[in-house]
């Protein structure tokens, strides 16, 4: 910043800009069913956007790279699907218990994983997630390769019939917006400020009296909980919980979404999720470039290329680059949204 701005003013301006962005986002998304856009695509993107925001809470604000976040998405999906199908629970209760299971798992895994930092943290979370992958592959209630299929969407609070795509869409939208706003609130709370301090300089934060491990564990549990909310919602939307959601490729995908959108930015993960889900659904139909047809079998390679390109040349991500560009043009504006 060129001219020092009082912190309170910066924070207020930042909050105003977030509120503006939030209202615009909510308004645009609310119009989707009337705009002729395929709502199932947007629902999928919204579930992944919430997943990516949860992941960004840990990576972008806590500085912890988890390479096993699929275990929270997948576990919540399985528990939610099982509750809805085998126990016949209504959707709101199934989603709640799915989210709760991810939260508990997050607490258990977090206690172990935060014992090491940096690269080790990434390897440990990856290995623990792989352990759960094999567990879900073998345990009977997940139905192995088939997954839990034909999960009933049910009636929300006994009133709204979710088999209607429009009703389902607005339910997903409300869940996403609530989760998104909650994550913004967490990031901009005193807790978020302390977390930021620990990421920037852990020894200094500890010397100031902050219990760094407790904050990191809390961030891990919160991130797991919101990832679980996304996974449980996804299971109801697609009436399916499968091994795809606990596989390491899913953990890699959420890293990519946050990287593409911009880690440590509020709107970045949402943008990243829409971009990646968009690319995948375009490719699933096959993309024709002249005489060359690029089909879904190239998704892995293209994902890898985007990874490499982002790391080498585009580390701020889409939203991060945009904020940096604005910063250069108008040096007075607050840096973070």
């Amino acid at each position: 910043m060129a001219t020092p701005t009082p912190v309170a003013m910066t924070a207020a301006a930042g909050a105003r800009r977030f509120a503006l962005g939030f209202v615009v986002l909510a308004g645009v998304l609310a119009l989707v069913p009337f705009a002729g856009i395929y709502p199932v695509f947007v629902m999928k993107a919204l579930c992944f956007a919430l997943f990516a925001c949860a992941f960004n809470l840990l990576l972008g604000y806590g500085g912890l790279l988890s390479f096993g976040h699929a275990m929270f998405l997948g576990t919540a999906g399985y528990v939610c699907a099982h509750a809805a199908k085998a126990w016949g629970w209504p959707p709101e209760a199934a989603i709640a218990v799915g989210t709760l299971s991810a939260m508990l798992l997050g607490a258990a895994v977090g206690v172990i994983a935060i014992r090491r930092q940096g690269i080790y943290f990434a390897m440990i979370t990856l290995a623990i997630a792989q352990m759960f992958y094999f567990f879900y592959l073998q345990t009977p209630f997940t139905h192995g390769e088939d997954g839990i299929q034909a999960v009933p969407r049910g009636r929300l609070f006994g009133l709204v019939d979710l088999t209607s795509t429009t009703a389902m869409y607005y339910t997903v939208l409300v869940i996403f917006l609530a989760g998104f706003a909650a994550i913004y609130r967490i990031v901009h709370s005193p807790f978020g400020a302390a977390l930021n301090a620990i990421r920037e300089n852990e020894p200094r934060a500890i010397s100031l009296g902050y219990d760094a491990d407790r904050y990191k564990l809390m961030a891990f549990v919160l991130s797991a909980t919101f990832a679980g909310l996304a996974g449980a919602t996804k299971a109801i939307v697609f009436e399916l919980a499968s091994l795809t959601d606990v596989h390491w490729t899913m953990s890699g995908e959420v890293v990519l979404m946050v990287l593409v959108g911009g880690m440590g930015t509020i709107f970045g993960p949402v943008v990243g999720a829409f971009v990646i889900v968009g690319i995948e659904s375009y490719l699933s139909a096959g993309l024709t470039l002249g005489s060359v047809v690029i089909g879904p079998e190239w998704v892995t390679v293209i994902t890898g290329v985007i990874f490499v390109a982002c790391v080498l040349a585009f580390r701020r991500g889409i939203v991060g680059e945009w904020l940096a560009w604005r910063q250069r043009r108008r040096p007075g504006t607050p840096p973070d949204t």
């Binding site: 790279l65 390479f67 172990i112 014992r115 090491r116 940096g118 690269i119 080790y120 990434a122 390897m123 440990i124 990856l126 290995a127 623990i128 792989q130 352990m131 094999f134 567990f135 592959l137 073998q138 390491w248 890699g252 890293v255 990287l259 079998e297 190239w298 998704v299 892995t300 390679v301 994902t303 890898g304 290329v305 985007i306 990874f307 490499v308 982002c310 790391v311 080498l312 580390r315």
Partner: protein
């Protein structure tokens, strides 16, 4: 009893691959501070090199054992020079993300070109048959894998811990700036170290080709297990990486005998237990 010794043998073979791969990871990590996520993909590349050499050029197993690591090592040098070397000033996590992307590219391309099902690699004639040890039958090739990988691991340990070249390497791990000031070309050493580390992965891949199918995904799940091995051993010591690899292979083999349901997960469970008791790993030190 027969089953026990059979599984112990399979455990030792798996352990040989864990040891070779975690050794390569540890050597690379020591100097570059990067965890090479592409290690599994480069192991697969080594196996495919051997398969292509045999099928397309008629080059046999023993030449492949030499040529495939050289090809993959050269690729590693290119990767280090063009990509990894740009990341040293940044957070180490970017190296992990870059190599993860590379792994996806390499595995994806081979999957699309050769299909996801495996290709069989013909066992060299020298290795047909085996030895009857009285209590069990030991196929010649399996014996060769254990002996050869133990020799390569031991040789690498000797070079790093007991020779002048190794002392430069260890010094550069501790403090690259001072070593550079003494007139040693540290950037070149880093490049060659990465090349050597991935050449070890390719060597393991060639060794694996006659036992397992040569398949594009053969390294994908393996590398996650090797990560757990690395966490258990801790990356402070070269010898530790080798021992941990062999021991965990045997532990996995024993689990297959006594509690087969857990054989996929036992290494991860051991990792969790080690993290609770000794977070730095069995041979590691906090850094």
């Amino acid at each position: 009893m027969q089953a026990l010794f059979g599984q112990l043998l399979i455990g030792l073979i798996n352990g040989a691959f864990y040891a070779l791969l975690s050794l390569g990871l540890a050597v690379i990590f020591g100097l570059l501070n990067i965890i090479n996520f592409a290690h599994g993909a480069l192991y697969m590349l080594g196996a495919f090199c051997a398969w292509l050499l045999l099928e397309r050029l008629g080059v046999g197993y023993f030449w492949a054992l030499l040529v495939a690591p050289l090809i993959v090592g050269a690729l590693g040098v290119v990767i280090e020079r063009t990509m990894l070397s740009r990341l040293y000033k940044l957070d180490h996590l970017y190296g992990l993300l870059l190599t993860f992307g590379l792994a996806l590219i390499i595995q994806g391309v081979f999957n699309n070109v050769y299909g996801s099902s495996g290709q069989p690699y013909r066992m060299p004639d020298v290795f047909t048959g085996g030895y009857n040890l009285g209590f069990m039958f030991l196929p010649k090739y399996r014996a060769w894998v254990i002996v050869a990988s133990a020799l390569v691991c031991g040789g690498t340990w000797f070079v790093i811990e007991r020779t002048r070249l190794g002392s430069y390497l260890r010094a550069a791990t501790e403090n690259p700036a001072v070593v550079q000031a003494f007139g040693i070309n540290v950037p070149r050493m880093i490049t060659l170290t990465y090349g050597f580390g991935v050449a070890l992965a390719a060597f393991a891949g060639v060794m694996a080709a006659p036992i397992y199918q040569v398949a594009p995904q053969m390294g994908a799940n393996l590398i996650i297990v090797v990560f757990a091995v690395v966490v258990i051993g801790g990356m402070g010591s070269i010898g530790g990486a080798i021992i941990t690899g062999f021991v965990l292979g045997v532990v996995e083999g024993l689990t297959k005998v006594f509690y087969p349901e857990a054989s996929n997960t036992v290494i991860f469970v051991v990792m969790v237990l080690v993290l609770i008791v000794r977070p730095a790993g069995l041979f590691g030190r906090e850094r």
